[in-house]
């Protein structure tokens, strides 16, 4: 925990420098630093501290803020678990965006198609369909890798762009399109398919966060307590040895990509049924963050939970920061990158803070994709 915490501190510090030195007023103050050093310093302090206080207020400062943090955490967590799971099986799933969109399509379809289903059936049905659509989209790169050796990094990137167009295309069909409207937005999911709010009407946090946490636990359990997980990890760590020991490497690749796709599809479904409610063109943005999350959480479900809460908080807080200071929302992306960089380079953080290496921390780090090797 020490290193990630210090990494966060370091990232926020560097982020503060970016905020300070791009704020026009503060910059002017620095330009006349010699004349009035106090003013430059106090303006800098104000610029950074106000931004960060707002960031914190918007993420943890109130019930509303907490709810928003969890709202953002939900899809991030599920998508992060997907990338992490694939990493464990030796696969690099950059296809999150495409699979999320697949999940959107699946869940919105079920969501608006049935009027008279009780929520207790409708919600799980819609979630499941989202997951199945995601799994189907994940199957393709898994299958191609297993059968032809096509590298999943390329195929998933291509599939993202393809899915982007699939969404545009379905949004021109009668079935999806709102009656009488020609804006490319689909019908909205029926109320019976919406994920129930869990903290009262004023707050957006919905059942999806529970689902996501349960899935995180489930993934931990599968990975570390079941024979399936053992197989995944074996294939991920040494596919040759796994094949030799009688495990089907090709089968594992396909299965793992399908599971990963299902998780991202579910991420899409929870977002659709909990927040979004209708399908519209464009990427969701969660799929790319998910890669960072899995890396940050070292492909461990527990780590991914913490990482996605952090990122959820940054996303939620960014809105408040934008609203109450003039800091553009994109600074959050910069801070996210910095956090990952510092977490990934513990030696760098230690060097900065002059922390001694602890024996336990010298142990091997999480399993990650190392190369293109197919």
């Amino acid at each position: 925990m020490l290193v990630p915490t210090l990494a966060l501190v370091a990232a926020l510090f560097v982020g503060a420098l970016v905020i300070i030195f791009t704020d026009p007023e503060t910059l002017r103050a620095w330009a006349s630093f010699t004349a009035n050093p106090g003013r430059a310093l106090s303006l800098s302090w104000d610029a950074a501290s106000e931004a960060y206080i707002a960031l914190f207020r918007g993420s943890f400062g109130s019930r509303y803020a907490l709810s928003e943090t969890l709202v953002n955490t939900t899809p991030l967590l599920l998508a992060g678990l997907s990338v992490g799971l694939a990493f464990r099986a030796g696969l690099f799933n950059i296809g999150g965006e495409g699979q999320i969109l697949a999940g959107f399509i699946g869940s919105v379809m079920v969501g608006f198609s049935f009027d008279s289903l009780p929520a207790i059936i409708h919600v799980p049905f819609a979630l499941l369909t989202g997951a199945v659509f995601g799994a189907a989209w994940g199957f393709i790169p898994g299958f191609l890798k297993a059968k032809t050796g096509a590298h999943e990094v390329i195929s998933t990137i291509m599939l993202n762009f393809i899915m982007l167009n699939v969404v545009l295309w379905v949004l021109k069909t009668e079935f999806f399109l709102r009656i009488g409207r020609n804006d490319p937005i689909s019908k909205s999911v029926n109320e019976s398919a919406e994920l129930p709010k869990i903290a009262g009407e004023g707050l957006r946090v919905h059942l999806g966060i529970m689902v996501a946490l349960a899935v995180a636990w489930l993934m931990w359990w599968i990975l570390f307590r079941t024979t399936i997980g053992f197989r995944f990890r074996s294939v991920g760590a040494n596919p040759k040895a796994a094949a030799y020991a009688g495990m089907s490497v090709a089968g594992t690749y396909i299965f793992a990509m399908m599971m990963a796709g299902a998780l991202t599809g579910l991420a899409g479904a929870t977002q659709m049924l909990g927040i979004k409610k209708f399908l519209s063109p464009g990427f969701s943005g969660f799929g790319f963050d998910a890669i960072a999350l899995a890396l940050l959480g070292k492909s461990h479900p527990g780590g991914i939970v913490l990482a996605s809460i952090l990122f959820g908080a940054l996303r939620a807080g960014a809105l408040t920061m934008q609203a109450s200071t003039s800091t553009p929302i994109d600074i959050i992306v910069v801070i996210q990158a910095l956090i990952i960089a510092f977490v990934a380079a513990p030696t760098l953080v230690r060097a900065i803070f002059r922390v001694k290496l602890r024996r336990s921390e010298r142990e091997t780090e999480g399993v990650l994709a190392k190369t293109w090797g197919s």
Binding site: F230, R231, S234
Partner: protein, 517 residues
């Protein structure tokens, strides 16, 4: 030239690999370095070659103190090394490998392969090391690769040559050749340090023998003053039995029958070409042959790791052509793979997990889809004790084991499930005498309990020690099958080199009865 190591100590975190080692070698002299796995031989040589920096101690070249901070310094001082694991780049050709780091160029940094090739060929003639300069390394047999390694050192004008386990992968003939080469290098005034686990060779070519144990020099002697048994004892620190005790075989019915097998390698080259043989219960059939003659692919095809192009494999009465490793496992086939680190284990996993790599889905290690971690742990603890795997804990990552112990771990895993057929590829490659003796005894025990054993080895000693019958493989074909009683080292060696001077027994169809007598 005279090279001296004085008081060299090398510490790794938690391990002292060398402790206060002194060693001297002069021009025209061969010093053999002996020791168990992990005794510190490679480490010591890496220090001399500038790959590692000694924690304490000094190196003197011709009585001048030398500082090697990188191999470049050592090379400049005239030291050359042929590493235990070859330092050749598989996709480069011979010339490229040899001149790497010391390239001949013509304008604009362009490589001048022809010029380098000339120099290489003249060296090659001088020392009797034949190579084809434009051949790609990965296409070459190991013996030739080793010649390239030696040439690489000579190309750099090495006066002192370190050979780390150079004979581990060679055929008897190649070993003969190598000994000839060493002799010629010695005559040319080179100083040579020779590392080996094979006591016979050491006694044959060394002028001086230095024995290391746990990083320390425990004895210095000469071939005339000592013998194999004494050296073995000195290395291990206790008495070891060099010969496996083995009763004659009483072969039963055929367990494995292979007919007219054809297999291609990764590059779609046909490397197994119509191979037929059979293995009976309670016998050890050894496939002898120089590495790279198709044995690897043959075994991969037999064990479901590679596509069988054509041909038939039956196990008992069942056709298992192209069966998956999992199917074979269920049919009680055990397999010790050739490349233990790449195929046999998962370095990042604990020893306990590695011990259930193929049984994790069976009781008691799992119930339904749940793994039972305590059962896995218990079984591991027992196996570690039974098979004498040296490790602080079953939870340690397998990658922290020494080569010999990694092999024991794999053997432990493979020997614990009931057996019909054991396939063992190069089971003792690179292991020290103690470990070899242990694994050989287990293989024989397995046979005596009723299993058929298919042993693949390029180690003639191993073949002679274990086999009941010997099939020799060369260029993708079985060029002869001999009974142990008829087999001499010479005969097998000649067959390995592809010389069929006496009418070979027809490799197919297998003449089952005729061979038993």
């Amino acid at each position: 030239m005279k090279v001296e190591l004085r008081g060299v100590t090398k510490r790794f975190p938690g391990v002292v690999a060398n402790r206060d080692v002194n060693l001297t070698v002069s021009g025209g002299e061969v010093v053999a370095l002996l020791g168990e796995n992990g005794a510190g031989k490679s480490t010591l040589m890496n220090v001399l070659f500038g790959l590692y920096e000694a924690t304490e101690g000094e190196i003197y070249i011709d009585d001048q103190k030398a500082e090697f901070s990188s191999p470049a310094d050592a090379i400049a001082a005239g030291i050359g090394m042929v590493h235990q694991h070859f330092m050749l780049i598989p996709v480069f050709n011979v010339i490229e490998n040899v001149m790497l780091g010391l390239e001949e160029t013509k304008g604009m940094g362009r490589l001048d392969e022809d010029k380098a090739s000339e120099r290489l060929l003249s060296l090659s003639r001088e020392h009797g090391l034949q190579v084809e300069p434009y051949a790609v390394i990965e296409d070459l047999p190991v013996g030739v690769q080793q010649r390239v390694e030696i040439l690489k050192a000579l190309y750099r004008n090495a006066d002192c040559l370190i050979l780390d386990e150079p004979t581990a992968v060679l055929t008897p003939d190649e070993i003969r050749d190598l000994i000839g080469v060493i002799q010629s290098l010695k005559d040319a005034g080179k100083a040579i340090i020779f590392i080996s686990h094979k006591l016979k060779e050491v006694l044959e070519i060394a002028d001086q023998i230095v024995v290391l144990r746990r990083g320390e020099v425990v004895g210095t002697t000469t071939p005339s003053e000592t013998n194999e048994q004494e050296l073995a004892t000195m290395m291990v620190g206790r008495d070891v039995q060099l010969e496996v005790s083995k009763t004659p075989s009483e072969p039963g019915t055929a367990v494995l029958r292979v007919t007219d097998m054809h297999v291609r390698d990764d590059r779609e080259v046909k490397v197994v070409n119509g191979v037929s043989f059979e293995v009976k219960a309670k016998e050890i059939l050894a496939i002898a042959g120089v590495q790279g003659n198709g044995q690897t692919q043959l075994i991969e095809a037999l064990t479901g790791l590679r596509k069988v192009e054509s041909g038939n494999v039956t196990l008992g009465d069942e056709d298992v052509t192209g069966a998956s490793p999992a199917t074979l496992f269920k049919m009680d086939v055990a397999h010790i793979p050739e490349d233990r680190q790449a195929d046999g284990m998962i370095g990042a996993f604990s020893i306990a997990d590695n011990l259930v790599l193929n049984t994790y889905r069976e009781r008691p290690f799992s119930k339904g889809i749940l793994t039972d971690r305590s059962a896995i742990q218990r079984s591991a603890t027992k196996l570690i004790e039974d098979f004498d795997i040296r490790t602080p804990s079953a939870r340690s990552p397998a990658s922290t084991l020494s080569g010999g112990n990694q092999q024991k771990m794999i053997v432990a895993r493979e020997f614990t499930h009931a057996q019909r057929l054991l396939i063992a590829s190069q089971p003792t490659r690179g292991l020290d005498v103690g470990s070899i003796q242990y694994i050989h005894a287990r293989i024989v025990a397995q046979r005596d309990e009723g299993a058929g054993v298919l042993l693949v080895s390029s180690e003639l000693d191993e073949i002679m020690a274990l086999a009941d019958r010997i099939a020799v493989m060369c260029a993708g074909e079985i060029v002869g099958v001999l009974d142990r009683a008829d087999a001499t080292r010479e005969k097998v060696g000649r067959l390995m080199a592809g010389v069929r001077d006496e009418a070979p027994r027809p490799p197919s169809p297998p003449v089952a009865e005729g061979e038993g007598s």
